[in-house]
């Protein structure tokens, strides 16, 4: 592994999911650009960002898919789950509803993710807010139940954001089964796709 220390070791696909307006895009914005905007606007469909991070002397490229939480884009999200190695599930600590709904997202993730043992990180965002509807303990309990990592963050004050991503990536890297055969899997999938393409694009 040390041979590759200067090159990118692997590319990891990471998803950010959760209800609308819990701060998914803000978290990503903080992580990538270290900025915060009060009004980012709603995500259309999905956002895509990449960042290269160094973990234990290895460069790892992160391809982060920031999905839209809005109901009408819900049909799209399953298609992004494929081949993801990590998922960040975000709720808003000042909104109990967003916390309760997290269970649905977890179920969806389990249903559509095709990789066994995908690493999950549950993130309680917006801890800078005075009003709190979900306590830290509740969050931890929930994360334990689903064998997920947990952290509370604030994209606004920068609290915990970096840590959330680092921890997730660290955990994925520690589980080589998740990413070592990436290339093999991809080529296999590509050929599969080609076959279906042939069938569907026939104009005759």
């Amino acid at each position: 592994m040390s041979n590759f220390s200067n090159d990118v070791l692997t590319t990891l696909k990471i998803l950010i999911i959760g209800e609308s307006s819990v701060g998914k895009s803000s978290l990503l914005m903080r992580f990538i650009h270290d900025r915060f905007e009060d009004d980012l606007g709603l995500t259309i469909g999905v956002d895509f960002k990449t960042k290269t991070v160094v973990i234990d002397g290895n460069s790892v490229k992160l391809a982060i898919w920031d999905t839209a939480g809005q109901e009408r884009f819900r049909t799209l999200t399953p298609s992004y789950y494929r081949d993801a190695q990590g998922a960040i599930l975000v709720y808003d600590v000042s909104s109990r509803v967003s916390f309760v709904k997290l269970e649905l997202w977890l179920n969806e993730l389990e249903m559509y993710s095709n990789r066994k043992g995908i690493i999950m990180m549950i993130v309680g965002n917006k801890i800078d807010k005075d009003k709190r509807e979900v306590s830290r303990e509740e969050g931890i309990q929930f994360a334990k139940k689903y064998k997920s990592l947990f952290i509370e963050t604030s994209a606004k004050t920068k609290d915990g954001v970096e840590y959330a991503f680092d921890e997730l990536v660290q955990k994925i890297i520690e589980t080589p089964a998740l990413w070592e055969n990436t290339r093999y899997r991809q080529t296999q999938q590509l050929t599969d796709d080609n076959i279906t393409d042939n069938q569907s694009s026939c104009l005759c």
Binding site: E19, S20, S21, D38, D39, G41, L42, I44, G45, V46, D47, F48, K49, T50, A63, Q70, E71, R72, F73, T75, L76, P78, S79, R82, D83, D92, S94, S95, V97, S98, K131, E133, Q186, Q189, L190, D193, N194, D197, N198, S201, C202, L203, C204
Partner: protein, 601 residues
Amino acid sequence: MENLNISGTTSNSHILQENTCQKHKDDNSEFNDKDLRLNSGKNETDENVSTSEINTQNLTSNDLNMEVESISNISETDKFAITAICAVSLHNLFGNKWDEEFCLRTIKCILINLQLPQKVEPIMFELIKGDDSHPIDPYIKLLKSQPFFKREGLQSIICNLILLAIHDGKYDARWRVLIQHIAVLFNLELKKIDEYERKLINCLLQKTTELSLEEKKTAASRKLMAKTKRYALIGLATVGGGALIGVTGGLAAPLIIGGLTSIIGSTALLTTLGSVVVGSLFGVAGGGLTGYKMHKRVGDIEEFEFHELRSLNSPEVSDIKGVSINTLKELHVTIVISGWIKSTSEENYTKPWLNLINGREQYYLKYESSYLLELGKAMEYIFSFVASVATQEVLKFTVLSGLVSAIAWPAGLLGLASVIDNPWGVCLRRSAQVGKQLAEVLLTRSHGNRPVTLFGYSLGARVIYYCLREMSERKNCEGIVQDVILIGAPCTAQANEWNKFKKVVAGRIVNGYCRGDWLLRFLYRTLSIAVDGVAGLQEIELQDSKIYNVDLTDMVTGHSDYPERMTDILAHIGIPVLQEVPLSLEAPLLDDISSSEENIS
């Protein structure tokens, strides 16, 4: 529901969403208003039928205008879905390295046209460039579920894409393939695309200046339009205040910037991408292809001319009689190339293709008549020897069953070999040169900046083969040729040779072959090429979504059948032909081969 749930805590976003909803409603009502206004405008035109000869076309352009304008009333969800559909299609169609630049340029163009925020760009690029192919169905489902699609349907989207494709005066073949691909995804008939293109041409030819809806209604403006049109017809370069940017020369019609602006409407396309419009979409000054002169001669070609192929009994053509010649122009062009001829009359070149209606603008290539005639006569001589159908069937099955080297040719046939071998050899050499000349024509875009589809059988297919080969070795060869259909091609079947054509051809590469083509087999009996295989005798062993092998063994007895059976063959391949439902072809077009084999046995 979602809104309500969140509203308790994140009031900001709630308001935002509510606003969008509100805005949606506004948009809708606004649209309805516009709809009404347009309708009233149409009524008025109806009343004035007699005042202007171009009235009917005005109507269509109004219709179209409405369709395209309404695309600005589209939500971001729709825009995202449309762009994503294009991006994934581009990935699936043009995943090769040489097409990457085109793909990115295209998607950028769509993004700008739809005015999607910048942040969407990376995801679209990822959809195009990513190793994985993303499923396209979710986006289609999403788009179909939206009110915009239910209201407008596909037409406005497709029209807008066509306009985007030609906005810079060049219609890239890959754009057309993309549009056709999207049409297929939505189960839209391909001939609809032709229809939309025609409508757009009509529309573009009408619009001379940027006029508001109210202005358009006035008789004065209509008069102006009629006048401008007349000017345009005689090829005057400037008209009043309206800028007439491109003149395609002579009879070809100019496309006028005002027309585009008013059609694309409020979108930012023209201002952002620059308003360079449409000089040579229809071909170089003069008569386009028919006026082509060989300035640069390849080899010692003696004859190389394009002529219009027009089947006069085609209803499509008679439909448009009385309409100015401009409307016969199409946004794509078809060239057909025949194999051998039996006499010098034009009919020899045109007859096999008489029922082909791959758009209205079709040309045939007349080349090296004297040599093709010589070959034709030699073939006739050979056929007089094997006159009976039975003999031909025997020969066919000899070829079908025998190993390459083990075919025992009848001694009589071998005795005649000297008659045909020489003209055949000459024609092989000449058709290769003609192919290179054709490449020259296409590379210089003498046919206009629009996609071209090539059809050819026998030596005509060889012309196409060498044309593609020549093009594949040149720069900027991409995006000119849309589809190629080679039937009974006397050229190699080597996969790595055909592999190069993927770069040149945007759409389909069709190789129609007959395993029992005894004449072709006979002609190749001594040539080394036979070892690699002849394309007209076997399939091209290349796994690619662009390559289509069509086995015609059950449709023809051999080479000589191609001209007579061309209509059936084209229909079998899936090319639009005039349907005079041939009795011999009882089975549906794309019936699987097994069933037709049963019929034979």
